[in-house]
Subunit: 462 residues, 2 copies
C-alpha cells in the first residue's frame, strides 16, 4: 500500500456520497453454498498443495524465457486440463533473456576469503578471469547518491542499505532501489562493478537475486548481491581498512530474444457475455529456488479458489485464471496479455503474488462506486481473520490489463513478515509453505471470487 | 552424553562411598574475587566477542592443512600476545589434506533441475565431466545396511535419514553414521557415488559438509550432502518414479601431506610445578562458513575465561589454552599435542566446541574421588542457571591427552538445540552468535576455571 493511496482513500471516505445504493445480486442460497465451500477449503489441501508440490518437484526452477519455463507451461496446461478447467490455452510471446554464469567473489586483501554472492538480472559480465578493484562502501542509497560524479572511477561500489522487516512489505519500497537502480547509479559515477547487500531480511548465506536496470547512456556493469552475512563481513572489513580489494568473476550472458508465454484457463460462467473475473499469478520463477512462494503458491491459490467456487455451482460470470510468464524479468507476460486482450472487458482482477502466508486485509477500488459489494466482501471474509481497509487496491504486477481498463480491482493482502527472508533466494522451496496458512488463502479467495463471479451488476460502475 | 554413561553414573552414585573427604583449597577471599570477575564477565563483551569477531572477519574460513589455517594461527598468536598471554607458541605437525573442487548435481530425468550439495571430506572425484546414474533411495542407515551385496552396482545411493533436534546433541549420534560411514557402506555394495541428506536440523539451501571415511579395501567413491530442502525434493521424485537419473560433478583433490599446527599460550600460575589446567578448542574450521560457532566461539570462550581468572589475581596453577589445529579432519592437533606432551601431567582438561549457546549442565569425572570439589563447582555455577549431573564428563575431541592420562575432566555442556542448524554449513557466521549467551559461557567458564586453577590438592585423585 502506498501512502498516497491511504490519503486518497481517507479523503474519498469523507467526501464521496454513494451515487447509487446497489445491492449485491448473490442470492441467499448462493451465498450459503459459497460460505460452505470456503469453509471446506479451510480444511482441505485438495488443489493448492497438490499444485505447488507438483510444480516445485516436477519442474522446479523455471526462469523466464528458458526451456524450464516452457516445461512449467506444459506442466500447468496438463494439470489444469486434468482438473477440468475449460479453454486451457498457451499464448506465446517473445522476450529478452539473460542467464547467469559463473559467480565468484573473494577478498584479495587485507583479509583474504571468499564471499557468497549472486549476479543480478541484466548484470554485465566480467572477463572470464575476473576483475580486481578496491571497494568503496556506502551504507545507504542516499550515501551513494551523494558521491561526486566520477568519484567511483575504477572502483567496486558496495551498497549496504539494510532492509526492514514489515508485515505489509513496505520495507521493499525503501530497500528495493538499491537493487533496481543502485548499480546503474554506481556505473554513472564510474564504478567498474557494484555489489549490494541483498534486499532481504534473513541472515542466511542465500543471496537474493532480482533484476536491475541501467539508465540510457550508461553501459551496464557487473552487478551482484552479497548474502546478508557476507555484507556484514565486508562492512566490518571496511571499518578496519580503506583499502579492501575484491576479485569478482561474473559471466552471465544475454541470449537475445527467446520464447515465453502465458497460460490461461477458465471456469465458464452461466452468462459468458458478461465480462469475466480475472485471477492472476505468475508461473515463472527466479532460477535459484524452486519458486514455491514466488509464485507457485499464488498460482496454486487462484486455481484452487476457482475450483472451489465451481464446486458451489456454475458461477454467473466466467472465471479466467492467468498464469503469466516472465514476470520476474519485466512483466513481459502481463503486458503481452493486456495487449492481446485489450478489447475484451474484464469485470474485476485480483492477483496472488506475495507468498503463502495468511491474508490479513482486503482492499477494493470500488468502495465509492459500489459500497454495498465492497462491504459484502469485507463482511464475508471477516470469519477468516481478514480486516477491511479504506486503502484503494492497486497490487498485482501482472494485472496490466486492469490498470489499462481502469476496471474493478481487489487486493487480498498477505502477511509479508517472512516473505523477504526467501524472496528471490535459493531458499524459496516447498518446505517454506505452511499448509495451514495456504488453506486460509484458498478459503478467502474462494469466498471473494465466489461473490464476484456471481455478481450480475457492474462491479466497478464508471 | 551417552546413555551408557548415564547408567554408569547412576550406578556410581548408588554404590560408591567417598574414599576421602577433601575440602576445596580456595580461600574465601579468593572465592569472592572469582565470583566477582565471573559476575563481571556476564556483563562484558571484552575478550570473547573481540576474538570471534576478529577471527571471522580478518581470517574467515580456515580449513585444516591450508594457508588459511596458517593465517589463523598467525592471527591467534598475535591476539594472544597482545592480550598478555605468556609462552605463546606454535607447534607444527604434518597431516593429510583434502580440498573441495567443483560441486554440481542435476536431475537429468524425469524432472530436470539442479540440486544443491557439497562434497564430504575424503570424497573421491568424478571425472571432470561428471557421472550420470540412476538413484536408489534409502530412508535410513538401517535400510542401506539391509540392501543385498552388489545390489547398488552402477547406482548412486541416496541416504535420507532425518536428524532429530535435541538439546544435548544426541541427535548427532543417531544421524551422524549416515555421513561418517554411509558412503563407504554404499561403496561396499557397488555404488558409484553416494549422496546423503545433510546431517543437520535446518531447512535452508546450505548443505552440511564433514568428513566421511571408507573401510579398508573399499575404494572411495564420490560422496556429497544435499541440503535438506534438496533431499526432500529428491525423495518426492523417488516417490513418483523408480528411474530418477542424477548427473554429478565433484572434483575434490588430495593434496598429500601439508602443514598444520597447534597454538598454545599460558596464564602462568604461582606454582608452575603443579600440573596445569588445560583449556581446549579448535582453531580450524570447515571451509564453507567463517567458523564462528565451530569453533571460533570455543576459542573465544576459553581465552576470555583465562583472562578473567587472571584479573582476579594470579592463579595457583598455570592455565594453558590449546587452540588445536585440524580437528575437523581427524583430530590431528589433539593427537599431536597428546604425543608431544605425553610426559607432562595435566591436572584437569575442559573443551569448548559446541557453539555459543548457553551452558545448561556441568559434569565432572571426579564426583567419586573428589566429591567436595565436584559439589563446589556445581554450587558455584548455579546462579548462572547451570545444573549439576551424575553423568561422567567425557566430551572434547581435542582432549586426547586427558583420555590418555586418565586425569581430571570437566564438561560444561552447552545448549545444542540450534547447533545443528549451522554445523559445517556456509551459515556458520558471526551473526549466529548471541552476545548475551556468549557472555553466559564466559562467566561460567571463568567461575569453573578460577576454582580449578586455584585448587592445591589433586583434582582427580587416583
Amino acid at each position: 500500500m502506498k501512502l498516497s493511496h491511504m490519503l486518497l482513500a481517507s479523503a474519498a471516505a469523507l467526501l464521496a456520497a454513494p451515487v447509487l445504493a446497489q445491492t449485491p445480486s448473490v442470492s441467499a442460497a448462493e451465498q450459503d453454498k459459497l460460505d460452505a465451500v470456503a469453509d471446506q477449503a479451510l480444511q482441505s489441501d485438495a488443489y493448492a498443495w497438490d499444485f505447488v508440490e507438483g510444480l516445485t518437484t516436477e519442474v522446479g526452477p523455471r526462469q523466464s524465457g528458458t526451456a524450464a519455463e516452457q516445461r512449467a507451461r506444459d506442466w500447468a496446461k496438463k494439470w489444469l486440463t486434468a482438473q477440468g478447467f475449460a479453454n486451457v490455452r498457451e499464448e506465446p510471446f517473445m522476450m529478452k533473456t539473460w542467464v547467469r554464469g559463473v559467480e565468484k567473489a573473494e577478498v584479495v586483501s587485507p583479509f583474504p576469503q571468499p564471499l557468497t554472492l549472486v549476479a543480478l538480472g541484466n548484470s554485465a559480465a566480467t572477463p572470464a578471469d575476473g576483475i580486481t578493484a578496491q571497494v568503496v562502501g556506502f551504507d545507504s542509497y542516499a550515501a551513494l547518491e551523494a558521491a561526486p560524479a566520477g568519484s567511483l572511477k575504477g572502483k567496486i561500489a558496495f551498497i549496504s542499505h539494510h532492509m526492514k522487516r514489515t508485515q505489509d512489505g513496505s520495507g521493499y519500497g525503501f530497500a528495493g532501489p538499491v537493487r533496481w537502480t543502485g548499480p546503474g547509479l554506481a556505473a554513472s559515477k564510474g564504478a567498474v562493478a557494484a555489489v549490494i547487500r541483498s534486499v532481504g531480511t534473513d541472515n542466511h548465506r542465500t543471496p537474493h537475486t532480482g533484476g536491475t536496470s541501467f539508465p540510457d547512456g550508461v553501459a551496464p556493469i557487473p552487478a551482484a548481491a552479497l548474502s546478508n552475512p557476507d555484507a556484514d563481513n565486508l562492512a566490518r572489513m571496511l571499518e578496519r581498512s580503506d583499502d579492501v580489494k575484491l576479485h569478482l568473476v561474473l559471466t552471465p550472458r544475454n541470449l537475445g530474444e527467446t520464447k515465453s508465454g502465458n497460460v490461461t484457463a477458465e471456469i465458464v460462467g452461466r452468462d459468458p457475455s458478461l465480462p469475466p473475473v480475472l485471477l492472476a499469478c505468475h508461473l515463472d520463477s527466479w532460477d535459484l529456488g524452486t519458486g514455491a512462494i514466488d509464485d507457485g503458491a499464488g498460482c496454486a491459490i487462484i486455481a484452487a479458489a476457482a475450483q472451489h467456487v465451481a464446486e458451489a455451482g456454475q458461477p454467473l460470470r466466467t472465471i479466467r485464471v492467468l498464469f503469466a510468464g516472465a514476470e520476474e524479468t519485466g512483466v513481459w507476460g502481463g503486458k503481452a496479455y493486456a495487449k492481446a486482450h485489450a478489447k475484451e472487458p474484464i469485470a474485476v482482477g485480483l492477483e496472488s503474488d506475495f507468498g503463502a502466508d495468511r491474508i490479513w486485509q482486503i482492499r477494493t477500488n470500488f468502495a465509492a462506486g459500489n459500497e454495498a459489494l465492497h462491504k459484502a466482501l469485507i463482511q464475508a471474509v471477516e470469519r477468516f481473520g481478514v480486516e477491511g481497509s479504506t486503502a484503494i487496491a492497486d497490487n498485482g504486477e501482472d494485472l496490466t490489463i486492469i490498470h489499462d481498463q481502469k476496471t474493478g480491482h481487489v487486493d487480498l493482502a498477505q502477511d509479508g513478515t517472512h516473505y523477504f527472508d526467501l524472496h528471490h533466494t535459493p531458499d524459496d522451496t516447498l518446505d517454506k509453505i505452511d499448509p495451514v496458512q495456504l488453506r486460509q488463502n484458498v478459503a478467502v479467495w474462494t469466498q471473494v471470487v465466489g461473490l464476484l463471479s456471481n455478481e450480475a451488476g457492474p462491479i466497478k460502475p464508471d
